[in-house]
């Protein structure tokens, strides 16, 4: 035990003391925060310019009504749409369109609407920048409102107060969980995606760190000296625990920073009296995520360590690491299926398979907590798989650390398992 402890200590200290660790600890969350801020900024950005448009109305009935329904205002108080020109029942559609198109090209207008004589036919919107999806919803709303009004009028129903009639329904989404209900604003999906990505990156990153650590001892021939005093299993165990300690330290720093930010935010909100609509993450989810991360780490780190021990150089290791990387990548590729229907047979089966369980079971728990027996079964299977993977890895490792030269193929690796 003392030897394992010495190896853990060395592995931990030499990693934590490097510049790479300090930079990684600071830079990774900064990149994360940067991405989040950028996304929030881009999605929250309000348009500041009025959309100047023309209307060609072949029916001659709708233009005025559409203009009346365009009540949307920009953040700076300007109207969102402004109809500068209306051509009602033009003698020549193409001439009217040509004239408007010219104005769009010269920059006098941003676009124009073509309304057919038959109100049930397609309405066209011509514009310079059709990617501007933000305009579609309010414009469609205004046109719909005008169309409905026109149809009602055609049936002899007179409407005096269109604004009240077209007041939208207010739909509020509430997530039901065993612990109660919480208002859903898209945060479940957000948290789920964040968790999946975090688990994926962490399992992959720390797995590869373990692999490279084994490889470094082989390529520098430090292994020759080490195995004269420690058993390969002690070395393997010490290495995996040492890197786990590094991972834990890094997460602790990040979580502390996050807690400080939240505390500071809460303090500010208390001082100013403005309540913050903070994202609520259930503690049980965090605990499960931690359990699945730790178990997943032990499985994947042993897997990666065995790969490192079987190789003699970086290039071989790059080529041989796919068996460990593939299930991780698959978990991320398939996560949409589980996210959309977490209780389907496919989701249940996938989340019970040990190689996928760390990511997919955590995902299911975050979306819709599955029955406890499914979680327990997945943990039990994962534990059994860890025992198996560690056994195989320890055997490959024991032979691999002494082998140099050609990268072994599968039959050779299988033969290594039988060496004593």
């Amino acid at each position: 035990m003392r030897k394992i402890w010495l190896i853990v200590k060395r592995e931990y200290l030499t990693r934590v003391k490097t510049k790479g660790f300090v930079i990684g600890t600071i830079v990774v969350p900064l990149i994360g925060v940067g991405f989040a801020l950028m996304t929030a900024f881009l999605s929250a950005r309000q348009p500041t310019q009025t959309f100047r448009m023309g209307i060609v109305d072949q029916s001659g009935e709708l233009a005025a009504s559409i203009r009346g329904s365009m009540s949307a205002k920009l953040a700076n108080g300007e109207p969102e749409f402004s109809v500068l020109q209306t051509v009602s029942r033009p003698p020549s559609l193409s001439a009217a369109e040509d004239q408007l198109r010219e104005q769009v090209n010269s920059g006098a207008l941003d676009g124009y609407l073509v309304i057919p004589a038959d109100l049930d036919a397609t309405i066209e919107l011509h514009m310079r920048n059709p990617d501007n999806l933000r305009l579609i919803a309010p414009l469609t709303g205004a046109i719909n409102q005008a169309l409905v009004m026109a149809r009602l009028q055609a049936r002899g129903i007179r409407v005096s107060d269109a604004g009240d009639i077209f007041q939208s329904a207010n739909l509020k989404l509430i997530k039901v969980t065993r612990t109660g209900e919480s208002v859903e604003r898209g945060q479940t999906v957000g948290i789920s995606i964040a968790l999946v990505m975090l688990l994926y990156v962490a399992l992959l990153m720390y797995g590869i760190i373990t692999m490279r650590s084994v490889l470094e001892e082989k390529t520098t021939r430090t292994m020759e000296t080490l195995i004269s005093t420690v058993r390969p299993f002690q070395l393997l165990a010490g290495k995996i625990l040492g890197v786990a300690g590094v991972a834990f330290t890094q997460f602790l720093i990040w979580m502390t920073a996050l807690a400080l930010v939240f505390t500071y935010g809460a303090f500010l909100s208390a001082m100013s009296g403005v309540p913050i609509s903070g994202v609520h993450i259930p503690v049980s989810l965090l605990v499960y995520a931690l359990i699945f991360f730790v178990l997943g780490y032990f499985m994947y780190a042993s897997f990666y360590a065995a790969i490192g021990s079987a190789c003699s150089n970086e290039q071989d290791a790059q080529q041989l690491q796919w068996p460990a990387t593939l299930p991780l990548v698959f978990s991320v590729v398939i996560f949409g299926v589980v996210l959309s229907d977490p209780s389907s047979h496919a989701s249940i089966v996938l989340s019970e398979i040990p190689l996928f369980a760390p990511i997919l079971m955590t995902l299911r728990i975050s979306v819709q907590t599955p029955p406890f027996w499914q979680i327990a079964l997945s943990i039990a299977l994962l534990l059994a798989a860890i025992v198996g993977v560690v056994w195989v890895s320890a055997h490959v490792y024991r032979v691999g650390v002494l082998m140099y030269g050609k990268r072994p193929n599968l039959p050779e690796l299988l033969r290594w398992l039988r060496y004593s």
Partner: protein, 299 residues
Amino acid sequence: MNAIELDSVTKAYDSVTAVDAVSLNIRQGAIVGLLGPNGAGKTTTIRMVMSILMPDSGAIRVLDQPVSDRTRDLIGYLPEERGLYPRMKVRDVIVFLAALHGMSEAEAGKRADEWLERFELSAWADKKLIDLSKGMQQKVQFITSVLHRPPLVILDEPFSGLDPVNAAAVKDIMLELRDQGSTVVLSTHRMEQVEKMCESICLINHGKCVLDGELRAIKQSYGKNTAHIEFTGPDGFLKHPSVAGVNRFGTGAEVKLKPGADAQALLKAAIECGAQISRFELLEPSLNDIFIERTTAHA
């Protein structure tokens, strides 16, 4: 007491038998040469003694105990393939490896400073290994193999890469270790080093121990069958029927005599032939000759 005992030890990899029923005893408190051509099974034997590998059959005892994790810590090992964590500091590496051998870190630190002083490396104690020259790294690695005062030291080519001053220092330390009662196993291809340092040898070839015992006794068993002759003038006498082999050099020749040949007859033939003889000496064969004879005869 024996430092190492092998009792008909066999180890095979797939189809190759690396070590084949080897039995040998290495006495405690001596410097012993472990010799053999490349691929003879030396490294496999050493690894089994270190309990890195388990023998397929046979028994191994180290310092009168069956090999185990405990006996492993009693051995100091300098592998042929050198290398230590390149980004660790010199003193940290030494302390780490000594601690793995069971020393307290405080004690290991104290002894590390003494050894670094002895090898004039004190100024480098806080430098990373990667910043040291190859020779300096060699010295650091040698320190890690003897720092924990092991009763058994196995050194694989300990002099390679060392300048004459440091090679002499390593040689002195080997003698000191022996005088303190430790056993030193020297594995090397440099026969002149073995002749100077070792009291006994063990020669392995094709996984078998082909020669084992006191170096002096082995040489004596060959008899004085080698004539060292320094001469000028004609050398026709070297074709004399009693000559089994000739090794010419600038000032003369080393002549191997056939078994039972009469050296006096050769000397007589040389004089009759007209050679000016300045030296004629009968010697035991060199270890180099014995090595070549024993490893090629069994090939």
